[in-house]
């Protein structure tokens, strides 16, 4: 089962790469740099998906006290932070040739960075509480607070940036994108979602083994 998932993920990623580099055309205004989008945008998606799963798993844990929910939340948060970091890094690499600078307080980059530090704090808390059960409870509470904070972060950052600056180039209307680019994006979305599921299942298993080893 896991082998199958792994194989599907690998196939998806290869297909994504083929779409990104082979099939999708060179974008007219940005040139080939735009191909970073096929990596960057699905990463953001996975990050948000991961943090959503953290919320659900946290609530389930607090209600049911099922250790598996706790492990799922932990695994999902870790993978989410991984992909948030990847999003920031690729966004920065894309920004250098496009904006001429590695970093600008662009609305998206800013909100993703805030999520990054927020969930890094979450992982830090998990690592610092000695008592496993108490750590799980605290982490669940933090996971809920952080998730509810996401929309607040989102709107505050958008208003903060766009009051004085035009919206970022990164967000062309959906209609403006040629179908083939959308298709390439969708393939990568699917591949990254599979990758997320694969990582989280494996990490959950590892966390279970860790708990067993400690017991």
């Amino acid at each position: 089962m896991r082998r199958l998932l792994g194989g599907a993920t690998l196939a998806g990623l290869v297909a994504g790469l083929v779409m990104a580099f082979g099939i999708a055309p060179r974008e007219a205004t940005q040139g080939n740099v735009q191909r970073i989008m096929y990596l960057h945008v699905p990463s953001v998606w996975v990050a948000y998906l991961a943090f959503g799963v953290v919320l659900v798993a946290s609530v389930v844990y607090l209600v049911r006290r099922d250790d598996r929910a706790d492990r799922l939340a932990h695994a999902s948060a870790e993978v989410g932070v991984l992909f948030t970091g990847l999003t920031i890094a690729t966004g920065s690499i894309w920004g250098k040739p496009t904006w001429g600078t590695w970093w600008t307080w662009d609305a998206r980059l800013t909100s993703v960075s805030i999520l990054f530090v927020m969930y890094l704090g979450y992982l830090l808390l998990r690592g610092m509480v000695e008592d496993r059960e108490r750590g799980a409870r605290f982490a669940a509470v933090l996971g809920i607070v952080a998730a509810f904070n996401i929309p607040l972060v989102h709107f505050s950052v958008i208003w903060w940036r766009t009051l004085h600056q035009p919206p970022s180039l990164m967000k062309p209307g959906p209609g403006a994108m040629p179908g083939i680019i959308v298709a390439a994006l969708l393939v990568n979305f699917a591949a990254f979602t599979l990758l997320y599921v694969y990582f989280v299942t494996r990490r959950t298993v590892v966390l279970g083994l860790e708990a067993e080893a400690e017991a």
Binding site: L17, R26, T29, Q30, G31, N32, V33, R35, I36, L39, H40, S43, L82, G85, L86, A89, T90, I93, W94, K96, P97, L195, F199, R202, R203, V205, V206, L209, E210, E212, A213
Partner: protein, 64 residues
């Protein structure tokens, strides 16, 4: 606009390295813990079922 292939390669290269490293971490950790779990189980079983020839007599040196 210029193509800046180096940036594209850097982005994808970075992603491949990071994701591969995380994957390797998962695989290694799991194998490590699996091995540890097997050893623990054997240790747990060994004293209980002493007659069971799971460990060969010669393989473990008797305590002096």
């Amino acid at each position: 606009m210029a193509d800046n292939w180096s940036f594209v390669i850097a982005a994808y290269g970075l992603a491949v390295v990071v994701l591969a490293m995380y994957w390797r971490f998962l695989v290694r950790r799991e194998r490590e813990l699996d091995d540890a779990g097997v050893v623990r189980q054997q240790l747990r079983q060994a004293p209980g079922v002493s007659g069971h020839a799971q460990t060969e007599p010669g393989s473990r040196s008797p305590l002096p």
